[in-house]
């Protein structure tokens, strides 16, 4: 049992930022309940990180260790806004950290964007990674060329998955339904198109390098795209920008490579999409060729008047993510984030009492897994300094949450029940030589979670 007066904190979202906030809070002596909409924890580490990057997924072992703490509890299958309100949580706990991520996709805002054959990278990624909300999407890979709009790591992930052979993917945790559909793919040419130049690309050197090491695809680029203006040279020379300079070096190694393989990844720069065209479905994308103007690190792409057309039967836009608003929590719709000061949620000029924010929903959708750790540490530091001025906790904490959920017949998935899902997935994967075969529906997840335990409790009449 926890000592009287122990601070009780609810963390909404079990992605990296939620777990790192939990870790810091546990170290500070608090009792922490992580509330997650899905029966499965880990957020985008499970549903975003590419299946062919297994090493990164080992961060889940660190999260599992955090979950093993005696003052930690997991409430999977419980959504803020659906099963519990923010006002209830604020009543049950001393503080609430919103760490719900930012996984809604942004639109391009160009005509033709809604034609069949045009998708967001988010939909595709969530589908091949088995997110239950995306299981029933269908993608058509019967065309020969695909265009990916955007020059970030997610765009590269999509490019790799489209360009790898089924044999290269078979032993990853990519979902069986995706593997099956990709096996029928006729895509040979993948165009990775960015609005600005090679010095502004947002990908990391490591991801870019991988594109040059694909078994079946060559990298093709136009040498003239690597001729940099003085402003771009200045950006690359900045000692703080190690990454862009490193990726530029890698781009140079791609220059003039022979074409020997059956597939190709074409890197295009300075092309801004103007319209997606086709009769009843996407057939081509029309771009404005652009030129950069402005000072270092604030260059913008201006159309030169020239247009370029690329044939493509499939278009994936990877132009960013945004968060979604929660009832009762301040939200900035423009940036898709929750306004805050060092993690303390701000309602106009005043702090929203007991409400904090961490991760992508705080900073916006950028930064790799580890960046969320520094972000959550900042939030927890702020919270602890706020706690310092307050009397010991009187909050009822998890007992109150449990009763509220029971009254609504919501059966939470605790961490032990998640481990049952995990075990069943690993077992199903082993039969196929894969690290795991994911359940792709909430019902199946729940069935595995509660296998061998009693029926779902019915709501009582109290």
């Amino acid at each position: 049992m926890t000592a009287p007066g122990t601070r009780k904190v609810a963390v909404v979202g079990s992605g990296p930022s939620g777990f790192y906030a939990a870790e810091a809070l546990l170290e500070a002596g608090a009792e922490v309940d992580v509330i997650e909409r899905l029966p499965t924890p880990f957020g985008l580490v499970r549903f975003g990180v590419a299946p062919d990057h297994p090493k990164l997924k080992s961060v889940c072992q660190n999260f599992t260790q955090i979950a093993g703490h005696e003052r930690f509890a997991f409430f999977g299958n419980v959504a803020l806004g659906r099963d519990v309100t923010i006002d209830e949580l604020r009543g049950f706990y001393d503080a609430v950290v919103i760490a719900s991520g930012a996984s809604a996709d942004r639109k391009l805002g160009v005509p033709g964007e809604h034609l069949p054959g045009s998708w967001s990278a988010t939909e595709f990624v969530s589908w091949y990674n088995g997110h239950p909300d995306f299981r029933n999407r269908t993608f058509d890979f019967s065309c020969e060329a695909a265009v990916i709009l955007g020059h970030g790591n997610v765009a590269i992930d999509v490019c790799r998955i489209l360009s790898k052979s089924v044999d290269e993917l078979r032993r990853t945790d990519i979902c069986a339904h995706a593997l099956e559909a990709l096996a029928e793919s006729r895509i040979r040419d993948v165009h990775l198109v960015g609005r600005r130049g090679p010095a502004q690309a947002k990908w990391t050197a490591k991801e870019l390098r991988e594109i040059g090491m694909l078994a079946e695809a060559d990298v093709v680029l136009d040498e003239s795209d690597l001729a940099l203006g003085a402003t771009c040279e200045a950006e690359l020379a900045d000692p703080r920008g190690v990454t862009p300079a490193q990726s530029f070096k890698i781009l140079r190694t791609f220059q003039g490579r022979p074409r020997e393989r059956s597939k190709a990844v074409h890197l295009h720069f300075n092309l801004s999409p103007r319209v997606l065209e086709g009769a009843g479905r996407v057939e081509r994308v029309l771009f404005d060729r652009c030129r950069l103007s402005g000072g270092p690190f604030s260059q913008v792409a201006d159309p030169t008047g020239e247009t370029v057309s690329l044939k493509a039967g499939a278009v994936f836009r990877s132009v960013g993510y945004k968060g979604v608003a929660t009832d009762g929590v301040p939200f900035d719709g423009r940036s898709g984030t929750i306004p805050h000061e060092r993690g303390r949620v701000m309602d106009g000029d005043a702090p929203a009492d007991g409400l904090y924010v961490a991760g992508w929903i705080k900073r916006g959708p950028s930064g790799v897994i580890g960046v969320n750790r520094a972000c959550s540490l900042e939030t927890v530091e702020t919270m602890l300094s706020d706690f310092a001025d307050r009397p010991p906790s009187q909050a009822p904490g998890r007992d109150a949450l449990r009763s509220a959920l029971a009254a609504r017949a919501v059966r939470p998935v605790d961490f032990t029940s998640w481990m049952r899902i995990d075990e069943a997935e690993v077992e199903a994967g082993a039969a196929l030589g894969k690290p795991r075969e994911k359940f792709t529906s909430v019902d199946k997840m729940l069935a595995a979670a509660f296998a061998g335990s009693g029926p779902v409790p019915q709501s009582c009449c109290a």
């Binding site: 660190n62 000692p239 990454t243 897994i369 580890g370 520094a374």
Partner: protein, 102 residues
């Protein structure tokens, strides 16, 4: 492949790097930090966090820097893990200026 801390970390130790590491693979002595290659998951988060560009992917090392692979691998396991931001060494700011990074 792994990530390694190189020369520039000398006498600096701002430790901005450790707060972004998702897996606690930094170890340190009084002088500098080292990455345990057995634990590092190659996420690259630390590269852009280091204010003096001391961390590199093994792949990007120059010939002179190759020796740091062995230094990191052999030193790290025997030293304590550094997970939270330490006070910078007194020499830190001077080191940053010396490298022209202010």
């Amino acid at each position: 492949m792994t990530h390694v801390v190189t020369e520039n970390c000398q006498a600096c130790r701002f430790t901005d790097c450790v707060t972004v590491c998702p897996v606690a693979c930094f170890h340190g002595d009084d002088e500098r930090l080292y990455i345990d290659p057995e634990v590092c998951v190659d996420c690259s988060a630390c590269i852009s966090a280091c204010p003096v560009g001391a961390i590199k992917e093994e792949f990007d090392l120059s010939d002179d820097e190759e020796r740091w692979i062995e230094i990191n691998a052999s030193r790290a396991p025997d030293l304590p893990v550094i997970r939270s931001k330490q006070s910078p060494l007194p020499t830190a700011e001077a080191r940053r200026s010396e490298l022209g990074l202010n």
